[in-house]
């Protein structure tokens, strides 16, 4: 018996697609390019990456909805291609967003329906549903139609649905997407309670804070490959010797940003757009000692607050993504074949 609840070994997934109408061209897009990792029983494992990195494709192979092009994967020791029923008995799958529920009927009707589909013993259904409603904080609202639910309530109902058959492994695919801060905090508390109950959880997310707060280990995936794997502290080590200078600017020009990048002591510059301002995140190994020089390079740009701080997981993530997104990545992933 393997030491891992989830094992992915060199998973590859290629999609075929077409472009053009008259001169049709067949494209093979490599969404996942040799992903390997193992998740221990009872572990909360995060899969972190930008849009289109291959997170959802990886999850869909693990939950038997997609066939890998090559490579193997096992969940609780069962092969995801050959033993689909055994895998499906042991997993729960929850995804984020508005879809995936029957809106016109009540939450209770939804849960009863899925309890039947998941093979929950009829004698246990009532107590199981009541316990899950309690767990996700929907007790008392279960008779309301789902179409009247807020996004946070829908997401919590999704989680209750995914846990109906008491699965050993739970896959959460961007569950906090679109939630307000209070809803997201409640969801994180629910996810924590799953691990405390002994579940193995694989979580995909865009949000560094969420991954840092929840996950035992994190794999960063980019361009279909895992580019880093370890604890949040391990990943932060990638940028541990650096300092981040955050410079708030108003109407900074691309030339000024390029001028910052050209500074020999600057390792990376990232920009976040705010409503009225832009925040420049300048990474260097010289702390705030070079701040004056940096401000000088911005010339006439109007400057707001300037803050020096220690690097966070987000900085490590941005560094990893920036250094692993090769210019030829897209071309390598989409090999065109004339039809």
């Amino acid at each position: 018996m393997s030491a891992f609840a989830i094992e992915a070994d060199d998973l590859v997934r290629t999609y075929r697609t077409h472009t053009g109408v008259i001169r049709r061209r067949r494209l093979n897009v490599e969404a996942v390019r040799g992903v390997s990792f193992g998740v221990r029983p009872g572990e909360l494992f995060g899969l972190l990456g930008p849009n289109g990195a291959g997170k959802t494709t990886t999850i869909k192979m693990l939950i038997t909805l997609l066939l890998p092009t090559s490579g193997t994967a096992r969940v609780m020791g069962h092969d995801v291609v050959k033993e689909t029923t055994e895998v499906r008995k042991r997993i729960g799958y929850v995804f984020g967003g508005d879809r995936g529920l029957y809106d016109r009927v009540s939450a209770m009707d939804n849960l009863r329906y899925f309890a039947e589909l998941y093979g929950v013993d009829p004698g246990e259904q009532k107590t199981r549903i009541a316990a899950l409603l309690e767990l996700v904080g929907l007790t008392g609202r279960e008779q309301e139609k789902v179409e009247g639910y807020s996004r946070g309530m829908r997401q919590r109902l999704h989680i209750a649905r995914g846990l109906l058959h008491d699965p050993e492994v739970v896959f959460l695919d961007e569950p906090s997407i679109g939630l307000d801060p209070v809803g997201a905090r409640e969801l994180r508390a629910t996810i924590k309670s799953l691990v405390e109950a002994g579940k193995t959880v694989l979580l995909t997310t865009h949000y560094m804070f969420e991954a840092d707060a929840l996950c035992d280990r994190i794999a960063v995936i980019n361009d279909g490959r895992i580019v880093a794997l370890g604890t949040g502290a391990d990943l932060k080590q990638e940028v541990a010797t650096r300092t981040i200078v955050e410079i708030e600017t108003f109407g900074v020009s691309p030339e000024a940003v390029e001028s910052l990048r050209a500074d020999p002591d600057v390792i990376a510059v990232n920009m976040e757009e705010r409503d009225q301002s832009q925040i420049l995140l300048v990474q260097s190994e010289h702390g705030t000692l070079i701040t004056q020089r940096l401000l000088g390079r911005l010339g006439e740009t109007r400057i707001g607050k300037v803050v020096g701080r220690e690097p966070t997981l987000e900085d490590a993530y941005v560094h990893l993504i920036a250094t692993t997104s090769g210019g030829d990545g897209a071309a390598a992933r989409a090999a065109a074949v004339s039809a």
Binding site: Y15, R16, K60, L65, T85, R99, Y102, R104, E116
Partner: protein, 264 residues
């Protein structure tokens, strides 16, 4: 034996859930109840205008025919779109990823849709009795519930075949619209089959609504019990189910290979 009981329970629960979902849908209320009443009213007025030529059972013939038109519309749109709608709602992946047999789930859904369609017959009969003074004397009252049951089964299985076939086409909705009127005509819902050109015969024979209509009308107004029609309903149901399972296996394999489960 436990597996059989579990599958029977699964089909039943999905069946009931589907009917409840349809009851909350304005589209299906319109298709299964209002539309047949409109068609029935037109037919009643036409037959009344026929005056003396209208026989004793003419109004009942029209009520059952227009009711059956509603049954077919509900089956076509409810079953034909069963997989597509779940795909759009984002529930298809959840149904496939569940440990239950998906063919059983789909059968429960399509039986639920065809059963819901039978509201149409109730609606047109009630409409005829209330507004047009239509007499309701079934020739074989004990056979009528059996005829209804085999009709539901055969249409549900035909719906399962439609659902699995339509899912391969992105424009299945257009195909549903295309199949509505021709089947009304070719299966004898509007005019008796004997009045149609002979070459349409073989087409009508392989369509369950023909025999379902025959079984229901036979139980209500014929002089001999419609046992052959009932038997053919059962036979066609079995053939449709086996074909649907075969197509479904192909469709699910293709979906896992081509990643089409979640696409609209």
């Amino acid at each position: 034996m436990a597996g059989l009981r579990r599958n029977a329970r699964l089909i039943w629960r999905v069946w009931v859930f589907t009917m409840r979902s349809f009851l909350a849908s304005e589209f299906f209320i319109l298709t299964a109840i209002l539309q047949p009443i409109i068609f029935a009213s037109i037919a009643f007025f036409l037959f009344q205008a026929g005056g003396e030529r209208a026989g004793e059972h003419t109004l009942l013939f029209a009520a059952l025919g227009t009711g059956m038109m509603g049954v077919w519309s509900t089956t076509l749109f409810g079953c034909g779109g069963a997989i597509q709608w779940h795909r759009w709602e984002g529930t298809l992946e959840l149904l496939i990823a569940a440990p239950s047999r998906y063919d059983m789930v789909l059968l429960g859904q399509t039986l639920g849709a065809s059963t819901f369609g039978f509201y149409s017959i109730g609606a047109t009969i009630a409409w005829g009795m209330l507004l047009f003074g239509m007499p309701l004397n079934a020739a074989f009252p004990l056979l009528l519930p059996v005829a209804l049951a085999v009709a539901i089964l055969s249409l549900g299985c035909l719906g399962m075949l439609l659902a699995t076939s339509f899912v391969l086409y992105r424009h299945a909705n257009a195909l549903s619209n295309l199949l509505e009127y021709p089947v009304w005509i070719v299966t004898g819902m509007i005019v008796p089959l004997a009045a149609l050109p002979g070459w349409l015969g073989p087409i009508s024979w392989v369509l369950a609504p023909t025999w379902a209509m025959e079984a229901i009308r036979g139980s209500a107004i014929a002089t001999t019990p419609p046992l052959l029609a009932m038997l053919l309903c059962l036979l066609l149901a079995a053939i449709y189910y086996l074909l649907a399972r075969w197509v479904l296996r192909f469709v699910l394999d293709k979906a896992r290979r081509d990643a089409t489960l979640a696409l609209a």
